[in-house]
């Protein structure tokens, strides 16, 4: 795997143009760019409120070369279900419908509609780019915010007190045909997952960790590095789940400690040694639980 060159695996053709409105170092446009490379031009994007409502560009401009429907916060999966139904009833079954939502639109306000669509096994790909808080409104906590993190609504000395919601397990519990995590630091893995998802019918879910320099209080140029450290420290394992049953790791590293990952982000700067140890223990415990769930066929890197 490590012998492969990324330039051989990632197509050059883009469906996203320059001139988007993301902040410097934002992982969200990179995630979109990679996913669209895998989805191709016969894709309709449904976008509930998120940073991407801005990144896509104001009317009459668009940084995407596929159709986009911007919609209200709670409605990504429901609106996409309607688009799907219209395409199907008119025989346009080869056009893919993709929801592109942030963590707020997925973990919180959009969860009910997402659960409904997943339970009906609607034929769509739902992508959540997760920057772990409401970044577009100025870094308020969401249920994707990790324990111990500073946000503007979990100020120090009372940082986030709840663990991050396990959205992948929630989706897997709907027994949808395909659910996976992905990272902008692992584009080959991400693209392989998009292609697998593209080939399957029914609800597919892709959870992409997307570092946010202003929200994480990290350096612009460290986004890829942080995304990689999240995987290497096993905070954000890269895996896929078929039919809610067959769990498989797609990238497996020897474990790195969580502390360097945390210490490079201002949102964790206040954490004491004890609190860092608590996070490490939690990551270890969750990894143990995951290992009991995963099948063989783990890819060693």
């Amino acid at each position: 795997m490590s012998q492969l060159l990324i330039r051989d695996e990632v197509p050059r053709d883009d469906l996203m143009t320059s001139g988007h409105l993301a902040c410097p170092g934002c992982a969200a446009p990179l995630a979109m760019r990679l996913v669209l490379k895998g989805m191709g031009p016969r894709t309709i994007v449904v976008m509930p409120a998120s940073c991407w409502s801005i990144i896509a560009g104001p009317w009459p401009q668009s940084s995407l070369q596929v159709p986009v429907y911007h919609t209200a916060f709670a409605t990504g999966a429901a609106l996409a279900s309607g688009v799907r139904a219209a395409l199907d009833v008119r025989g346009e079954t080869d056009t893919a419908v993709m929801v592109w939502a942030g963590d707020g639109g997925t973990f919180d306000i959009g969860l009910q509609a997402l659960s409904g669509a997943a339970e009906r096994n609607e034929d769509l790909l739902y992508c959540c780019y997760d920057n772990e808080a409401y970044m577009n409104t100025g870094v308020q906590r969401s249920s994707a915010t990790p324990w111990g993190a500073w946000t503007s609504t979990t100020p120090v000395p009372h940082p986030e007190a709840s663990p991050k919601k396990d959205i992948l397990a929630i989706l897997a519990a709907h027994r949808i045909p395909y659910a996976a995590t992905a990272s902008v630091a692992y584009p080959v893995d991400l693209l392989a997952k998009v292609r697998r998802a593209r080939a399957v019918r029914g609800t597919r879910f892709l959870h992409i960790l997307a570092p946010c320099p202003p929200g994480w209080k990290s350096a612009d140029e460290e986004t890829i590095e942080l995304a990689r450290m999240a995987v290497q420290s096993r905070i954000f394992p890269l895996l896929e789940v078929e039919d809610g049953e067959r769990w498989r790791l797609t990238v497996n590293h020897a474990a790195e400690a969580v502390e360097p990952y945390l210490r490079r982000q201002g949102r964790f700067r206040h954490l004491s040694e004890e609190q860092v140890a608590r996070i490490q223990a939690d990551v270890d415990a969750r990894w143990g639980a995951l290992m009991r769930r995963v099948d063989t066929g783990v890819l060693e890197v």
Partner: protein, 386 residues
């Protein structure tokens, strides 16, 4: 084909004859029969539509918006809490100019829980940008359901068809069900002017800055302005093909009237009965039925009410802190008539939460209007026991 059917099934038949392509709905009393019947039609193949059984009304309207944006003819039905739960997406449907048709069975809002009729659910959606058409009979419900698609698609605005809980929804009446071939001639398949299309990619609903947002709302207002004219043409076609016509507003026995009632929904039928009896007794009385609440039929209402001494507006709704909503709108429509032509407008709030509006209630309204030289400062609540 003449059949005895309830109002809810008249809606289902209307949607079926309009050949809706996508239905998305959530159950709520007293609307549920509408979508039960439609599920049956989809299941037995008499209707070739996709039925999305969503997990909420908010999602029902979102799915209709998605389907409509992708070019399909989309339909839903709801009631009461379901309608108010959709509120955000009602704005989205109208602002996005999606010609969705929805049936709303008028039902009171909680708390306390009440499944019976009043108009506060639909009237509290007044400013969402939907055309609203209130029906009086099951035949009107069926005819209006089909016409609503033609209207919506002509002006790219969503249309809400409104019928009273139980008095229409669950009451069976003989209804002429039009021939499918004739309906097909009246209403061809939808061709969207713009839609989500991979061959011609566009972004819908993107960020709009202050320099263009107002123009978008202006175009919406322009489309609303077209509605009365388009509806008139549609009704003329319908009359020619099916022999029936209703009008955005209808004057009934208005000739030389000294007092006119303003009504909507099934209260109209009861009021017709009272007007007939009183006319027989020699009283110069009539009524004006308002079918179209948005856009408000200001011109027609002024034509019918100008020069009449007194107007009594019957409101099965209330805007708390103000009064009856049709009364408000009527006063506003008549305000700048020359003072000699401007009627005194008497407002009556009645029948909330399904309380019966019987002929004797309407008699009480008429007698009180006759007895008081001037309207009260506030609309009168009829039959309240404080």
């Amino acid at each position: 084909m003449r059949q005895v059917i309830v109002g809810n099934h008249a809606v289902s038949w209307g949607a079926r004859l309009a050949r809706v392509e996508v239905i998305s709905a959530y159950p709520i009393t007293p609307q549920t029969q509408v979508v039960e019947k439609l599920s049956e039609m989809c299941a037995n193949g008499t209707l070739a539509a996709r039925f999305i059984k969503v997990e909420s009304e908010h999602s029902a309207m979102a799915a209709c918006v998605g389907a409509s944006a992708a070019g399909a003819r989309a339909f839903t039905a709801t009631s009461s809490h379901g309608l108010v739960f959709m509120h955000e997406m009602l704005h989205w449907a109208a602002g996005g100019r999606h010609p969705i048709v929805m049936a709303n069975v008028n039902r009171a809002l909680g708390p306390g829980w009440n499944i019976w009729t009043d108009q506060n659910d639909s009237l509290s959606q007044r400013d969402t940008g939907w055309v609203q058409l209130y029906c009086e009979t099951n035949q009107e419900v069926l005819d209006t359901a089909i016409q609503a698609f033609k209207l919506a698609e002509a002006v790219d605005l969503p249309v809400m068809l409104v019928l009273d809980a139980f008095y229409l929804s669950h009451t069976a009446e003989p209804v002429d069900i039009p021939d499918q071939e004739m309906v097909d001639r009246f209403l061809p398949p939808r061709t969207a002017r713009l839609k989500l299309d991979v061959n011609e990619p566009r972004a819908f609903g993107a960020l709009v800055r202050p320099d263009s947002y107002m123009e978008m709302r202006w175009l919406q207002q322009e489309a609303m302005r077209e509605v009365p004219h388009v509806l008139e043409r549609i009704e003329a076609d319908w009359l020619r093909m099916f022999g029936r016509r209703y009008g955005a507003i209808e004057g009934y026995r208005t000739e030389d009237a000294e007092l006119l009632l303003v009504t909507s929904g099934t209260v109209t039928s009861t009021a017709r009965f009272v007007v007939d009896r009183r006319r027989d007794e020699g009283e110069a009385i009539g009524l004006v039925k308002v079918k179209m609440f948005r856009p408000f039929p200001t011109a027609g209402l002024r034509r019918l009410l100008a020069g009449v001494a007194r107007v009594a507006v019957l409101d099965r709704n209330v805007s708390p802190g103000h009064g009856g909503i049709f009364a408000e709108e009527t006063r506003s429509a008549l305000y700048d008539l020359p003072s000699g032509d401007r009627p005194e407008v008497y407002g009556y709030v009645l029948g909330l939460g399904g309380r019966d509006v019987t002929p004797s209630v309407i008699d009480e309204v008429i007698d009180r209007t006759r007895q008081c030289a001037q309207p009260e400062r506030e609309d009168v609540w009829v039959g309240v026991n404080p």
